[in-house]
């Protein structure tokens, strides 16, 4: 039986999108098979892989920073538990979103905060569950001293003075809400894959429970990312290089973008942010991360389900960028990006009632992405590739060397310089 993701990929392929590298002269040797030796082919691919890997590590938020944020939300969890009337053991707090999928990225301006999403699950009684609004408010009340601000489904804690802010989504186990209540309030939603982690969260605008499965979503991304799409022959060649390093020291250039799904998610999200910075898309209608994650993961999963294979991550990135725009479904005149873990939830719901602004943003972004990736892949000179990658993804050049410079003792401190008057 063909899986849904495989179906999506097949559907996208029916539109015959051309690979970005299809007509690039820089790629002819690889594409036409002029280079036959596996190691030579890898070296050729590594021209681009090196620069892309550099960009990937520049935008990823490092483990230490995430750990600091994790400590902070654990503190908030304890604080919350102490301030809520429910017993301690009935409260659990887990990260969700990009933290749990390891696809958190920095903002183009390094000084901006990144957001950490956490879901806080509380086992409450069925009677209490009859009133979602008061449940939501009680969490806000308990977080009052942290200056929590209510949003659609979560409480945002600003954390003045730290590098991040937290978004806490109050939730309860799905089975707490009676089938009937859930059905009457949000009839379209039901659990799909990863059902064991499904939750009910409060949707404040409609004052009702909605099914959510952020843990399932993370698990789906993490499970999918582990599936192999790169051909073994390439892997073997790498392994051979490593073993024979003393003989032929090539692997110096070999870099790790084999975690290709996550690399694609990070780079594409960053590219979207840069497009907003450059004014190419409107920051208010730019594609939301969960749509990018869903499309890329579906695409990756579909390719794996169809037993496709690629000889290098760069080739796979090309394929993902080529297919991604065509994975958005248009059914009965409505755009659909389905949440694979919650049946009936359409991440692109807003696209259908905004006069086409978000769809246009998405398409403008994907075409800019394709064009930019083509510019990069059209280069063959390593320096030109690096320059191009840095420009496209808004990455500063590598750093270092400053501390080893000479020191020069300055003359005795100057008198306080005269200050300016207003004029």
């Amino acid at each position: 039986m063909i899986t849904k993701s495989a179906e999506l990929v097949k559907h996208a392929e029916q539109k015959f999108p051309a690979r970005l590298t299809k007509s690039l002269a820089s790629f002819a040797a690889l594409r036409e098979g002029y280079i036959t030796d596996a190691r030579d082919r890898l070296e050729e691919y590594d021209l681009w892989a090196k620069a892309l890997s550099e960009a990937n590590s520049h935008i990823a938020v490092d483990k230490e920073e995430i750990a600091a944020a994790t400590d902070a939300y654990n503190e908030v969890a304890d604080y919350l538990a102490a301030n809520l009337s429910w017993p301690h053991e009935s409260i659990s707090i887990k990260p969700q979103g990009s933290v749990s999928t390891k696809t958190l990225i920095r903002s183009p301006n390094g000084s901006e905060k990144f957001d950490i999403d956490a879901v806080c699950k509380i086992d409450i009684s069925q009677i209490e569950a009859d009133n979602p609004v008061s449940f939501f408010e009680s969490i806000g009340q308990a977080l009052k001293e942290l200056e929590a601000q209510p949003k659609r489904r979560c409480w945002k804690i600003p954390f003045t003075g730290r590098r991040f802010y937290l978004e806490f989504t109050p939730s309860i186990p799905l089975n707490t809400v009676s089938e009937q209540t859930l059905h009457s309030m949000a009839p379209r939603y039901s659990v799909s894959r990863y059902g064991e982690t499904a939750l009910a969260v409060v949707d404040m605008p409609t004052e009702s429970w909605k099914t959510s499965n952020s843990e399932g979503m993370s698990k789906w991304v993490n499970d999918t990312s582990e599936r192999r799409l790169i051909r073994t022959i390439a892997m073997e060649a790498h392994a051979y290089d490593r073993a024979a390093a003393s003989v032929s020291p090539v692997p110096d250039q070999t870099v790790d973008i084999t975690d290709t799904l996550r690399v694609a998610i990070r780079l594409f999200k960053r590219h979207r942010d840069m497009c907003a910075r450059r004014g190419i898309i409107d920051a208010d209608t730019k594609p939301i991360s969960v749509i990018i994650v869903t499309l890329l993961t579906s695409c990756y999963e579909g390719l794996a389900d169809l037993n496709r294979s690629f000889e290098h991550p760069v080739e796979l990135l090309d394929e993902l960028a080529t297919l991604m725009p065509h994975l958005v479904l248009e059914l009965d005149g409505k755009y659909r990006v389905d949440n694979p873990t919650v049946e009936g939830e359409n991440f692109a719901e807003k696209w259908n009632d905004d006069g086409g602004d978000r769809y246009k943003s998405f398409m403008d972004w994907t075409s800019a992405l394709s064009a930019d990736l083509q510019t990069i892949l059209a280069e063959k000179d390593p320096q030109a590739i690096s320059k191009s990658v840095r420009y496209v993804f808004g990455i500063s050049p590598p750093t270092g060397g400053g501390n080893s410079l000479t020191n020069l003792q300055p003359p005795a401190p100057r008198a306080t310089p005269a200050s300016r008057g207003l004029a």
């Binding site: 301006n109 390094g110 000084s111 840069m274 497009c275 907003a276 910075r277 450059r278 004014g279 190419i280 898309i281 409107d282 920051a283 208010d284 246009k360 943003s361 403008d364 800019a368 320096q383 690096s386 320059k387 840095r390 420009y391 808004g394 500063s396 050049p397 590598p398 750093t399 270092g400 060397g401 400053g402 501390n403 080893s404 410079l405 000479t406 020191n407 020069l408 003792q409 300055p410 003359p411 100057r414 008198a415 310089p417």
Partner: protein
């Protein structure tokens, strides 16, 4: 002038002798550069001593042209802008001054640059860098020299029509549908002889651009236009190029910054040159342009005065534009009041020059006409309507129905009585402002709508004054029957400031019901009184001022 830098070279071996000479008589010493990481390199750096150093000028560091707009804190010429040479006159030796420069170069620039600590700095002064880009691209034959905006950025990108003003070559990014456009065109006078219609793609941006994010080519701009404009707007902009050869401008802005480009493909530029005209073809690539904001929020209050939008909607009636009234009209116009009607039958005479807003160039003109002309030209946020007639005549022809605040600055008892009558039918806040002889004191009496001025048949003006005036203080002007006191414009400035501030308070609060009427007074001290007339004394309530040079006092209106 030969400096011996050899001992400095021992402490700082990267400083290389010998001295080289550079343009403008400057002396240069090359600096040995470290090994750069890919992307952080620049070709050279030099310590430069200007001609006349150390007596004149300051030493500085100059970097090669390839570093401009790639590396922050450099000006257009590649000169490093940081704290360096303290300059002559502060007692430092030449060697110490150079040491400061080299130390600053190392610690504030080179090391942080190599370590990536300056990477975010372009964002901080983004318009300074834009000015460099504009200056680099500028030429004398450019069809447009700058873009003026007069409204807030739109929430959604759109194409609108604008005006290119010739020979000034300024584009106003709006058309005549906004009244302020016309006022700006008027104020340019002969510099805006000709208006040419242009198309402006007005696109809101979420972030200020930096040299690495602003559009660098037509294809970068094309991407933005395609991405942000509706297809109808996009084709309107495209179509115009093939049609009549209209100029097209892309304006990218938010509430803090704006960037503009003139697109290639416009009509040729025709410039007046010596004995004729010179035609230059349109550009081949987009021309970056500086923008100026001429909207009231900026021109009046640099975005720091939210009350301006309220003032813009107000209509203020000013009676009397003499030595007090004329500068006050100027002040409330500067403060952003949208409409001012000025009433005065007087013409400008030579006796007024020393203390009036107007000068000798207006002698013989109606004061109101000259004031209206002057302010309408200078402050686009305000529209002044002149009425060259007495208050009596004005009141015969007009009512206070659309007036928000009345300022009576005539000092005339008859006017006060007439306004009192009219306010019975049209309750309206009223400010009465006047000065005492020599501007020894000045008063602003603020009466909310419904509060009367007269106490029965009694006019309380003299009662409210601060100084006991002997009758012989008032002089008669030769050949004229009006009261005349000698005072300087500087002394009157205090009165003007007091009354102008009170007027603005009333204008800002005119919609809210204020409970109390009050009098605010500026009172000079005894020293000032003694200087002007022997034996002058303060009234009891004003005695507090006597030990000071001047004091502002607040009272309830009795």
């Amino acid at each position: 002038m030969a400096l011996d830098l050899s001992s400095l070279c021992e402490q700082f071996p990267d400083l290389q002798l010998p001295a080289l000479s550079r343009e403008g008589g400057a002396t240069a010493y090359q600096l040995r550069l470290p090994l750069f990481q890919d992307g952080r390199e620049f070709k050279w750096a030099e310590l430069r001593l200007p001609k006349g150093f150390p007596k004149y000028g300051k030493a500085f560091i100059q970097l090669s042209p390839d570093s401009v707009l790639r590396i922050p804190h450099l000006d257009r010429a590649g000169v490093l802008c940081n704290e360096g040479d303290p300059g002559p006159g502060l007692g430092y030796s030449s060697e110490d001054r150079i040491k400061f420069v080299l130390h600053g170069y190392l610690e504030q620039f080179l090391k942080p640059w190599l370590n990536g600590d300056l990477d975010g700095e372009f964002e901080n002064e983004t318009l300074n860098y834009w000015a460099i880009a504009v200056a680099k691209a500028r030429s004398k034959t450019d069809a447009v020299r700058g873009v003026w905006t007069i409204d807030s950025p739109p929430t959604k990108a759109r194409v609108r029509s604008g005006l290119l003003l010739i020979p000034n070559r300024i584009i106003i990014a709006a058309d005549e549908q906004l009244r302020i456009t016309n006022r700006l065109v008027q104020s340019m006078g002969p510099a805006a002889k000709q208006r040419v219609r242009v198309l402006v793609a007005d696109i809101p941006i979420s972030h200020a651009f930096t040299p690495s994010t602003w559009p660098r080519s037509m294809s970068d701009l094309e991407r933005i236009l395609q991405g942000r404009l509706t297809s109808a707007d996009y084709s309107r902009l495209q179509h115009s190029r093939r049609g009549r050869g209209m100029h097209r401008v892309v304006l990218l802005r938010n509430s803090e910054v704006s960037f503009a480009y003139l697109l290639p493909g416009g009509p040729p530029t025709i410039l007046d040159v010596y004995r004729g005209k010179k035609t230059s073809p349109s550009l081949h690539k987009p021309l970056p342009l500086m923008t100026s904001r001429l909207d009231p929020d900026w021109t009046v209050g640099r975005d720091q005065h939210p009350e301006i939008s309220g003032r813009q909607a107000k209509h203020v009636l000013v009676l009397g534009v003499g030595a007090l009234g004329s500068p006050i009209v100027d002040h409330i116009a500067k403060a952003g009041v949208g409409r001012i009607s000025v009433v005065d039958a007087d013409t400008m005479s030579s006796a007024n020059i020393g203390r009036h807003l107007l000068g000798a160039d207006s002698i013989g003109q109606n004061k109101v006409d000259a004031i209206a002309q002057r302010i309408n030209l200078a402050y686009p946020a305000t529209e002044v309507t002149p009425y060259a007639m007495s208050t009596t005549e004005w009141l015969k022809k007009n009512t206070l129905v659309d007036v928000d605040v009345v300022l009576d600055l005539t000092g005339e008892p008859d006017v006060r009585v007439q306004i009192e009558q009219v306010r019975l039918s049209y309750p309206c806040p009223l400010l009465i402002g006047w000065m005492e002889p020599y501007v020894a004191a000045a008063h602003a009496c603020m009466l909310p709508a419904g509060q009367k001025w007269l106490k029965g048949a009694q006019d309380p003006l003299s009662y409210l004054e601060a100084v006991v005036w002997p009758s012989d203080v008032i002089l008669q002007e030769p050949g004229c029957s009006s009261r005349f006191q000698s005072y300087t414009a500087a002394a009157a400035e205090h009165a003007v400031a007091l009354v102008a501030e009170c007027s603005l308070e009333m204008i800002d609060n005119s919609a809210t019901v204020t409970s109390d009427s009050s009098v605010r007074s500026w009172v000079r001290g005894q020293r000032f009184l003694d200087k002007h007339w022997p034996g002058l004394t303060h009234k009891e309530w004003a005695k507090a001022a006597s030990v000071y040079d001047g004091l502002i006092l607040n009272r309830q209106f009795p």
